[in-house]
Symmetry: C2
DNA sequence: CGGGGGGTTGATCTCCTTCAATCAACGTGG
DNA sequence: CCACGTTGATTGAAGGAGATCAACCCCCCG
């Protein structure tokens, strides 16, 4: 049961915060109207499972607000996060009946869902949707490949720095730079989730974050609130080219 | 310069070995004709670079025969393979001008290339191409995510077993099972390329292959020719569910 | 014959995991 | 209000999987 404090979201596409970035981004008014007919909102509390790998999936949808993760689990319990879903990201695969991964809400989550079969039909008749979905899927593929470099070749310290860079960059548009020019954000993940993301143990994550703090690369208030005094320095620590990005 | 032994491939789509699996898989005769107008074949020798990351890319295309790799490199030289391109796989991203990865031929390679701008135009007018490309991209994304689990959470031995399983499975359709039911194939990669694939060093690759041989999981003739007496055993070693696959 | 590319094997080192104790923040019930 | 349990995080000590450095082999080719 959701708590009473959750705001009553408008489901009007015109007021939708992800209107211009989600699968529906390129849709015209009439196309939007047809999507509207098959859509419904769903809410999940932090920690709740959206769907289990292998489960029948009768919807696809977009993250409207909050954060969700895609994870894979081996029989012996080892888990690896394979996707981090932020607002506007798409969940589900047209043409597939069962979920391929566990999807979990890591914060309170609102999703705009479409019944799968009608969505598939509509997609086949609406190039604007298919085009946008292709574009988004190609972006995700690039992100996954970037991530493969992180997982395969970076040290624990570089992995942490990479993750912090990604989070900082991802909501850079929305986000806060303090008056002094520092980059400031909250970690949306627990240490354990970060470990699952990076292929590490939560202890190593904790140690490396402490190390980055001691070395002045980041500052922490509480466990989650991060300040980056020098973004270039953080990018160097990540082993990335320290240029060309939003923060150059 | 290509050697004289390379066969003179027909460029007739009707005789194309990847006709039913590549981007053009769903095309009707007339659509195929239009693709034919903007296509040309290119050949590369084993070891040759198809394109460097960052280079201008004025074509996209399909692998017709041979194997290519997608790799990413850090400034200090660490490299990670992020894609393995087999016949029918697609190279390049519509809408992007520069290559995002190094593409290298690991065997002699034949590609069916399309001039990029005309291809993009055609794609926008031909849902059959866009649909197929979406499907292929989603498959690649799944493969990349599978790979992330391998990179992030598996041991060196499991990584090798996983790679062998993938190779065995990938050309299972084409491939050879000996009279005794053994699965038999040739490794298309050097030890170093395997290491770049798996986020290991080539020494570790060599050791783990030797270990699997000593333990009877695989048999080797020469360095590259592999026999798998018991596919289920190999899948167990890979840490995968030992069922549901082609070899079940 | 020499040389080089690809591969194997050995010895040592190190970074990360594993196991474990401790802590802070928070909620709950007596 | 305080004891208690829980959850998320930090820190320490010990061990191990894989990296690193190095020697050597095999085979092909000029």
């Amino acid at each position: 049961m959701l708590n009473d404090r959750s705001p009553a979201f408008s489901q009007d596409c015109n007021e939708c915060p992800i209107r211009h970035r989600a699968v529906c981004a390129r849709c015209e008014t009439d196309e939007l109207a047809r999507l509207d007919e098959i859509k419904y909102y769903r809410r999940f509390e932090a920690g709740q499972t959206v769907i289990w790998s292998g489960d029948r999936m009768d919807f696809v949808g977009s993250v409207v607000s909050g954060i969700a993760t895609l994870t894979q689990t081996m029989e012996d319990g080892r888990t690896q996060m394979v996707g981090l879903l932020l607002p506007s990201d798409f969940v589900g695969r047209p043409g597939r009946n069962a979920a391929a991964y566990d999807v979990t809400a890591t914060t309170d989550l609102v999703m705009c869902c479409f019944r799968k079969t009608p969505f598939e039909d509509l997609m086949n008749r609406t190039p604007h949707i298919a085009q946008r979905l292709l574009e988004m899927t190609l972006d995700e593929l690039d992100a996954a490949r970037e991530w493969m470099l992180v997982l395969g070749r970076k040290t624990a310290r570089e992995k942490i720095a990479s993750l912090l860079s990604i989070i900082a960059r991802r909501d850079a548009s929305i986000n806060l730079r303090s008056a002094t020019g520092d980059v400031v954000f909250d970690l949306p993940l627990t240490r354990e989730a970060m470990a699952d993301y990076l292929g590490l143990t939560l202890e190593t994550v904790s140690r490396q974050i402490s190390a980055l703090r001691k070395d002045g690369v980041i500052a922490l208030e509480g466990k989650r609130h991060v300040t980056v005094p020098d973004m270039t320095r953080l990018l160097e620590e990540a082993g990335d080219d320290a240029d060309g990005g939003v923060f150059a």
